[in-house]
Amino acid sequence: MITGAGGSAPRADTASASVARRLSRTEIDATVRDLLGDTTNPAGRFLAEDEFTPFDNDYTRQNPSAALIDSLEATAGDIAARVLAPATRSRIVTCTPTGPGDAACFRQVIETVGRRLFRRPLSEDEITAYLTLQSFATENNPTVPHDFYTAVGLVLRSMLQDPEFLYRLEIGAPTSQPGVLRLNSYEIATRLSYFLVGSAPDDRLLDMAKADALADPTARRAEATRLLADPRAHDQVHRFHAMWLGYRAIPGSTDLLAAFNTETTALIDKIVFDQPASYLTLFSSDQTYVNALLAAQYGLPAPAGGAGWVSYGTTGRAGILSHGAVLAAFSKFSDTSPTQRGIFVQTRLLCNVVNPPPANVNVDQPPPATTSMCKLDRYAAHRSVASCGACHNNLDPIGIGLEQYDIGGKFRTSDDGHPECPLDGNGTLPGYGTFNGPAELGQKLIDSGKLEHCFVEHLLRYAVGRALYPEEQGAVDTLAGGFKASNYSLTDTLLDYVASDRFALRTEDAAP
């Protein structure tokens, strides 16, 4: 397993450590879209890029800064102005103000919007504090245009810059186990919603939280079932895969990238949601969803009707490892990298640790020159150097088994531009034997039994927002056991996790 978090994690067998996690850019965008109707993805425009490790929600990489605070102020102002435009403001101001000083209507907006943005009801003191902003609507100031909505805008700006909006604060209450804290229903609602749909809890979840109904595992399971039917859950699963498998942003023409995206999301949706099957089919599916462009790219028959499922037949392709999106990730700029693809399989699919090259290796230069122009000869010469081979023997032979597939997923039988350098597609998955091409590699990975475990590890890592502590291995094992017992149903596994006692618990993370 790959661990990244330092320090120790007491009680990790029972609960995962958590801290105040800042919403990622994507989460802020989704939240203001769902709660305020702002569909313009404002966070991406103003806030600095999230770090990806490989997920964008790693709280150990989140640091406040003056730049962040300035950007948040600008973002909040930008959102408030859009949300309160005359054509759209009735979405959050549902009462009709009788005038700039309509305190009842103002209070109603504060209560409604505050509950959504803070994911809990506001206290009377808090409401009173926000009510003071109404003076900006009512002040005697003939030269400055101001009205009821001016004050609403200020409420929005304040709430959107508030740490209670930006951070998911989890506190919890002590349990009989020292150090283990039980989340309250509002905290559970928030955890549940951001995990499954990447956005804030909706009114129904908040209502359930008010009734403290989410402490009940059965209720959590029912709500999770409801959320998984939401298109946003599909998006969330797509995003998870794009980050896990490294294809969240890949080079290519617009048309080709769109086709890649359609292909990969179609396979995920089919297996996970539409025709639920063993999740491992993702790596062995004998069909793929292509349009004419992609069919030509892969050398497959064009589907009838422009786009549709076609069989791979005996092409040697199967599953997601044959997809252009995945083959484009982990490449060099102009060509595939057998080493990078080896690292991909070892770290993302088998959860093995790959150490970086020793410091004194000049990694800028391609493997040492030989008389041969052929790439694989150069890689072989490189591996014949003992100090290189020690690591590269565990990496390159994997990528070499995928060499017949270029960075756009096209099939080839020789190096680009070098017909004298044949590629036979024969590779080795160290410890598991030889294979040829993505179909055989996919099957080898499935048969290894490690793929399912590594997938679950990444899932938990995404859920907790950081690399796992070694002490969380037991939690991965439990989750992986359930995954297998469910015949590899991803949705069942998500439901089991949400319904588990662990999901409602936390410990304090000592490392900020």
């Binding site: 105040a20 300035d70 001016t150 209670e164 410091a359 000049n362 800028d364 490392a511």
Partner: protein, 509 residues
């Protein structure tokens, strides 16, 4: 809960008073125009303009290239001219400076070197102020802060020069203005991971740069009070509104911090501290226009951020991927730094045009300069475009970076201040990421872009007696010595910087 709205001045009193930036006005000067009345010296400015690239290409000797398949040797392609002293050749990367008649306004320091252990790759073997033998990360720390690196991570182990200068040279509530032109990392398999920092408060304490010219504009210039009466009324209203919005948040500080655990208290305290800092900046007395200080035009909404890179050598790299018009962004940032200096809102700035190990697509910028390179900036140094490699493509990208430096210098030079101009009262550094010497990792390969040998820094301005206009060929001085000189030129009284000791006296003539 009681809510009291404080006037700005009351707030200021409560905060212990915040100094105010003032532009230099004629009436404030002494008779010689060299200092403010009452012998207060004119403000001294310090800036670093950073380029995330080396000065030469892998495996190509200085000045040798292949462009569109044609080999050539050109003694004026490498940034370092053959002559030393004044009146030297304006080499290819320096062309923008020559075009603006700025060759007499900066000195080029060549032959700089960060030490490293040639015999060991152990962290413990890294010499003082030296580089851990793993580029890029190993070279970053000693270059930026003069303290040895201990790993391949991108970090600094002590404060960077801009922060040190801002510590003693801060006119108002804003310390160093830290901005960056390249807004995105452009690669899918990785992320910035520290490559986006050139400013550090101290050991492992990076300062996030602002990448939005629009936000920089508003944070610097919204504070000016308009002269028009109705605009002033609106301004006053907006200012009060901003303060009330923020105080509703900071009023919660104690309550929120009281409910969370110890780790979260630390995390959230830092967030609240930054909001408090914004409040202080807003509460500071407004800067004053006058003389050369006129708030620039609003740059408007930020330019779109380009998509991810299409990859070196590929046909699709010609499309607008991996590029967010960093050129325009850098110019906008330079405009804002210029006026922030002129208005004395801040005296220190860093402009990171491109990040360490930058994967910005250079096709658009190099095409505009007549040498189309189908690669990103990092791969350009590593022969990413098979047909166009070596010195000329690398120098072309460097020229692009230097054009933004030249733009800033030119604006400072053309802004009168006292008897001279603002550049006279400045020390402005241009800092490329790497030199062109022995490869740092293997300590063997020559002519490597991943090298901390044969490094170059440009130092512009005449602050503190700097004597620009010359090529100074140093005998392996540490880049930190150049920074010590520049810092001393703006008032630094110490002789050390991180683990580096002593200036480069040649810079003062």
């Amino acid at each position: 809960m009681k809510k009291v709205r404080l006037s700005r001045r009351t707030l200021l009193k409560g905060l212990g008073g915040v100094a105010v930036g003032l532009p230099v006005l004629e009436c404030m000067l002494d008779r010689n125009g060299e200092a403010l009345a009452q012998s207060v010296p004119l403000p001294k400015r310090y800036a670093i303009v950073f380029a995330g690239q080396a000065i030469g290409g892998d495996d190509w000797a200085d000045n040798t290239s292949i462009v569109a398949g044609k080999r050539s040797t050109d003694t004026a392609a490498f940034i370092v001219p053959p002559e030393t002293g004044s009146g030297y050749t304006a080499t290819l990367p320096l062309k923008p400076l020559a075009d603006l008649n700025l060759m007499g306004d900066f000195s080029l320091v060549s032959g700089l070197r960060i030490p490293f252990s040639a015999s060991s790759v152990d962290a413990s073997a890294v010499p003082a102020a030296g580089a851990f033998r793993d580029f890029h990360g190993g070279g970053a720390g000693p270059l930026l802060c003069g303290t040895r690196s201990q790993s391949s991570s991108f970090t600094c182990r002590s404060a960077t020069s801009d922060q040190i200068v801002a510590g003693f040279n801060k006119p108002g509530s804003i310390g160093a203005l830290v901005v960056r032109a390249q807004p995105a990392w452009y690669l899918s398999g990785s992320s910035f991971s520290g490559r986006q920092y050139i400013s550090y408060k101290g050991d492992a304490a990076p300062i996030e740069a602002q990448v939005s010219p629009s936000i920089v504009y508003h944070s610097l210039f919204d504070g000016f009070t308009p002269t028009d009466a109705s605009a002033r009324a609106q301004h006053d209203f907006d200012l009060r509104a901003r303060q009330s919005v923020l105080s509703l948040i900071t009023d919660k500080r104690t309550r929120v911090l009281g409910t969370v655990g110890a780790t979260d208290r630390t995390r959230l305290e830092r967030h609240f501290d930054e909001i408090r800092d914004l409040e202080l900046r807003i509460a500071a007395l407004p800067p004053v226009t006058g003389g050369q200080c006129q708030p620039p035009a609003d740059p408007g909404p930020d330019l779109p951020v380009g998509g991810n890179n299409a990859g070196s050598g590929s046909d699709t790299i010609a499309t607008n991927t991996g590029y967010s018009d960093e050129g325009t962004r850098a110019r906008l940032m330079a405009d804002l730094i210029h006026m922030a200096f002129v208005c004395d809102i801040t005296r220190v700035a860093t402009l990171q045009i491109t990040v360490f190990q930058s994967h910005m697509n250079v096709y658009p910028i190099s095409s505009a300069l007549g040498v189309p390179i189908r690669a990103d900036l990092h791969e350009c140094g590593h022969n990413g475009d098979a047909m166009t490699r070596g010195q000329i493509p690398v120098s072309t990208c460097l020229q692009w970076h230097i054009s933004h430096y030249a733009y800033l210098l030119n604006k400072l030079k053309n802004t009168q201040e006292g008897a001279g101009n603002v550049l006279d009262n400045s020390a402005i550094i241009f800092m490329p990421e790497a030199g062109h010497g022995q490869q740092l990792n293997d300590a063997m390969s020559a002519n490597a872009t991943h090298s901390v040998e044969k490094m170059v820094l440009l130092v512009a301005g005449r602050a503190g007696g700097l004597k620009p206009g010359r090529h100074i060929a140093s005998a392996q001085a540490h880049p930190g010595q150049v920074l010590i000189s520049a810092m001393q030129a703006v008032g630094y009284t110490k002789n050390t910087f991180g683990e580096v000791t002593g200036p480069l006296p040649d810079l003062f003539g």
